[in-house]
């Protein structure tokens, strides 16, 4: 296995009296897709939020590219999220007032690209996700499955080192869901991005290289890819 881009050891997080993570470990390499599975409420999303620096764990260490995530300032962490991480969630992530191409260009504009340069870089991603014809439509005018493809294009447009996807196909039928997974994992492998994929769906998880299972805030790593 190649070197890990992101590792976590002994993560703990408690909300009030609810232990969401109770000593979770994680590791992922460049170009690798890891499925995070487990029952509802087991701590999958909390793990993803901690790994992405959105939520700070109460204990444990997260290392990204040789840096300790907890040692960074809030501003440094948001900069990291903008430039090196990509995100895909189940619903409502596109900005409704912007067209699809503007949505995909948005993270590039936030990292300092001009409007023209950002949209020029965004277009190939819409093409790759097979939704180039929707470039000038707004999210309200396209289907959920199409919106999810635009969201994947947006997550990949900044050439992130890690893509965090929480139930990215949760709202799609299986044919669309699988196509989105195929496009996402293909693109991620081609760009050597790591993908942390939270899913309930075994058929979606089967697109990953391996899986870990979260139960009661603990992680168990299952068989690695053959």
């Amino acid at each position: 296995m190649s070197s890990a881009v992101l590792t976590a050891v002994g993560l703990r997080k408690t909300y009030g009296t609810t232990p969401a993570l109770a000593g979770a470990d994680f590791g992922i390499s460049a170009g690798e897709t890891v499925a995070v599975m487990g029952p509802s409420g087991s701590g999958k999303s909390t793990l993803l939020h901690c790994l992405a620096g959105i939520v700070l764990p109460d204990a444990g260490t997260i290392m990204y590219g040789g840096r300790k995530l907890s040692a960074l300032s809030d501003a440094e962490r948001s900069a990291l999220r903008r430039s090196e991480f990509g995100f895909v969630f189940q619903f409502g992530q596109l900005v409704p007032e912007l067209t699809c191409i503007e949505n995909v260009a948005l993270p590039l504009r936030l990292t300092g690209h001009s409007r023209r340069a950002a949209e020029r870089a965004a277009m190939p991603w819409l093409e790759r996700l097979e939704v180039a014809d929707l470039a000038n439509k707004r999210p309200g005018e396209i289907s959920g499955g199409q919106g999810q493809r635009v969201a994947v294009a947006r997550a990949l447009a900044t050439a992130p080192r890690v893509v965090f996807a929480d139930e990215p196909t949760g709202a799609l039928d299986s044919l669309n869901g699988e196509r989105v997974m195929e496009l996402l994992t293909d693109a991620a492998r081609a760009t050597k991005a790591a993908v942390v994929l939270v899913t309930h769906d075994p058929r979606v998880a089967a697109y990953a290289d391996r899986e870990i299972v979260v139960r009661d805030g603990h992680t168990r790593s299952m068989g690695a890819a053959a």
Binding site: P39, E182, P202, R203, A205, A206, Y207, A208, D209, E211, V213, R220, M222, G223, A225, A226
Partner: protein, 195 residues
């Protein structure tokens, strides 16, 4: 232990053979509906569409054809000089067409899976004080490993590959969901099994 394994294996192979034989004869009949042909052509049509990693042997083709001939479902339409089964051209009969139709319109009996080996293993593990959760996890990993393999094969394949792999994937998914549910209920099951 070795005996049981061997018996199971034999049983398994035996069942597979019977099922395969039944579908092979109907499949060959179905091919013949679009026109008479030689055993050679039938073998190739079969391998191309349904063979996957298991092409038919010529022996299977000719023994199937001779059974169909005996039952009046096919007839020899022409023979090139020299004799031997490979020279014969076979055609489907009226009775043959009826037989294929009957087979196609009769629904397959859904498997009830009531004699699940997995269930037996889980209960035995509990009864003998072994770690049933670990067993379930190992099975889960094995299932997902195969699902990944089929998914890879599917994404690289044509529509026929996709349909075949999807069929297997949906069944594996059902097993996997059962494994998850059973894992979640393992404490209750242990209490019941031990009481």
């Amino acid at each position: 232990m070795r005996h049981t394994t061997h018996l199971l294996y034999t049983l398994n192979v035996y069942t597979v053979c019977i099922v395969l034989r039944m579908t092979i004869s109907h499949t060959l009949l179905g091919f013949l509906e679009s026109g008479p042909c030689h055993g050679y052509d039938l073998k190739h049509s079969y391998d191309q569409r349904f063979g996957n990693d298991r092409p038919l042997h010529y022996g299977q083709v000719y023994s199937t054809l001779s059974r169909l001939l005996k039952r009046g479902l096919v007839e020899v339409e022409g023979m090139e000089p020299g004799g031997g089964p490979e020279r014969k051209r076979y055609a489907i009969t009226e009775a043959g067409v009826t037989d294929v139709t009957q087979w196609l319109v009769t629904p397959e009996k859904p498997d009830s899976y009531l004699q699940s080996t997995l269930y037996t293993k889980v209960v035995l593990a509990i009864l003998t004080g072994r770690d049933a959760a670990k067993l379930l996890d190992a099975q889960r990993a094995e299932h997902l490993r195969l699902m990944r393999e089929l998914t890879r094969r599917k994404t690289g394949g044509d529509l026929a590959d996709q349909l075949i792999c999807d069929h297997a994937l949906f069944h594996l998914e059902a097993d996997l969901r059962w494994l998850e549910l059973t894992t979640a209920r393992i404490d209750r099951l242990s209490a019941e099994v031990r009481s």
